[in-house]
Amino acid sequence: MTITYREAVRSGMREALQRDPRVFLMGEDVGKYGGTYACSKGLLDEFGPERIRDTPLSESTFVGAGIGAALGGMRPIVEVMTVNFSLLALDQILNNAATLRHMSGGQFNVPLVVRMATGAGRQVAAQHSHSLEGWYAHIPGITVLTPATVTDARGMLLTALEQPDPVFIFEHAYLYSMEGLLEEGPAAVEISHAAIRRIGSDVSLLTFGGCLWKALAAATQLAKEGIEAEVVDLRVLRPLDRETLLASVRKTHRAVVIDEAWRTGSFAAEVSAVIMEQAFYELDAPVARVCSEEVPIPYPKHLEEAALPSAEKIAQAVRRLLG
């Protein structure tokens, strides 16, 4: 079955709401409006205003209320419209959600799921184009997921709701309209492993989220040039599945890490460090990174494209490695 990414997210939420009375959704415009990205369209009519709750534009408080509701026995899905606005809730996320289990000596846990859109590419300029999932992956105590396929968009949410601790799901805004094939099998998917999206032998393209599709496009182009790239979808930024990415690098002996965030202090830097620490002697070339340029993301299309990773930039990075 082929569905859009937004339909996949909606399908996951609907199934969760149907099967578990503790699940409810709250966030900005999730009810009457149907969700900024239309992910929750129709859910208010189906589940009513107690379970589909429009919130004020109070990110810190409705994320904190999600933490409290989770402590109180519910299974909240909190939709923060975009990662850009999640900064207003960062105190609740870092100081409460992520610390409570450890700081309370294991007495409390926070089974909270927070979803938000991330990423650039839609000409919405600097304040609405951030890719900060790597920041979140810095925080012990939370799980960070970056579904790139429709199967993951639906299934990761369902699995996330089974976790006893906070899970943050970053949905690349560019993907919501993308159509994809929903894989057969149980809706819930595992959230512990990276996935090999394309098998190859010459270079490993390590990426996640929206950049997966750019990496796959680059791999298609490179194949025409006789270069077989393996594409690894990291899927879970924390806890990172090091084994799968290292196994790929040990096979291909070359790695390009692709990350839409700025290069400095990026998650790509973390992946690169993991390779240095654990597969240095397997490498035939230095690890390369394709990240965003170190600028606030500009509005005009040509400048935005120049700032972001692209299939061509990825292909060029591979050619340089194999040079």
């Binding site: 409810f24 107690e50 379970r51 709750r53 919130t55 004020p56 109070s58 810190s60 408080t61 409705f62 994320v63 904190g64 209320a65 999600g66 933490i67 409290g68 509701a69 989770a70 402590l71 109180g72 026995g73 519910m74 909240p76 105190d91 609740q92 100081n95 409460n96 409570l100 289990r101 450890h102 700081m103 309370s104 000596g105 294991g106 007495q107 409390f108 846990n109 012990p140 105590g141 939370i142 799980t143 699995t159 089974e162 976790q163 006893p164 601790d165 819930a188 595992e190 959230i191 512990s192 806890p239």
Partner: protein
Amino acid sequence: MTVPITREQGLELLRQMLRIRRFEERAAELYQLGKIHGFLHLYIGEEAVAAGSIPALTQDDAVVATYREHGHALVRGTSMRSLMAELYGKATGCARGRGGSMHFFDASRRFYGGLAIVGGGLPVAVGLALADKLQGRARVTACYFGDGAVAEGEFHESLNLAALWKLPVLFLCENNLYAMGTALARHQSQTDIAGKARAYAMTAHTVDGMDVLAVEVATGRAVESIRQGHGPCLLEYRTYRFRAHSMYDAELYRTKDEVNAWKQRDPIAVFQQTLRAAKLLYDEDWKNLDASIAAEVEDAVAFAEAGPWEPIDDLSKDVCSRTVGDQRSASA
């Protein structure tokens, strides 16, 4: 003079205030001795608020407090032993020693901290109350915070959301007149905190926080109203901190005369006099009370001293659980 309580009730209020006072006086000594480290925010002077308000709650209700929460945990019923051990950082502490003074937790008493970012507890309290509302439970969540928190956006957001959704939250503002070292009038254009709550269509009252009976009466009424489904309420307790913000500060922000004037209203001394005048307290009672609390404090110190440290091997324990449905560890 008569007071509207029994001798037993009066002695209990006095006992709880004195437990807080003696516990903290001892903690301050232990800090000087190097037994306790980090921040130690003392509640001395403000005891009437915790002692008068917590008993209005049932064991099913929830408490969210701040970094100045020793008194709240003591009155809530967490053992003095485990609290003192927590101050020491021992594994026998109420949070296995991981939080110290600012982070008391007790799941068995629905005591959710000990949250030390100013204003950060209010949204959590709103969420706890939301969970109760969604699950049809007639429970109340009591959320303590100081006048400093009133400047935070979360105060306004949380009052709005709690009132909008008619959630069973009792907001208890312990207005000790200073946000750390900045007087209320130096950081607020409008110093009437109860009035701010009313702006969010919430019932709110100002209470004499140095008078334990006034605290008890006002809190009891508020809890009852919330439990009957009338929505959240804010109580602003006017109180005063006798000691420094944390263990040390130069106190350049207030005069000795001001501190001394407030000490004339010491909630323990005043209530002791009230009970004596009403012939509900006699010298013998006071001696017994003082001696039993002194013994409880020394027992708690001995317990803390004897307690083990958490093994370093457990450092990563309870960061997060193993990922459900997967065999590989997701901890740390």
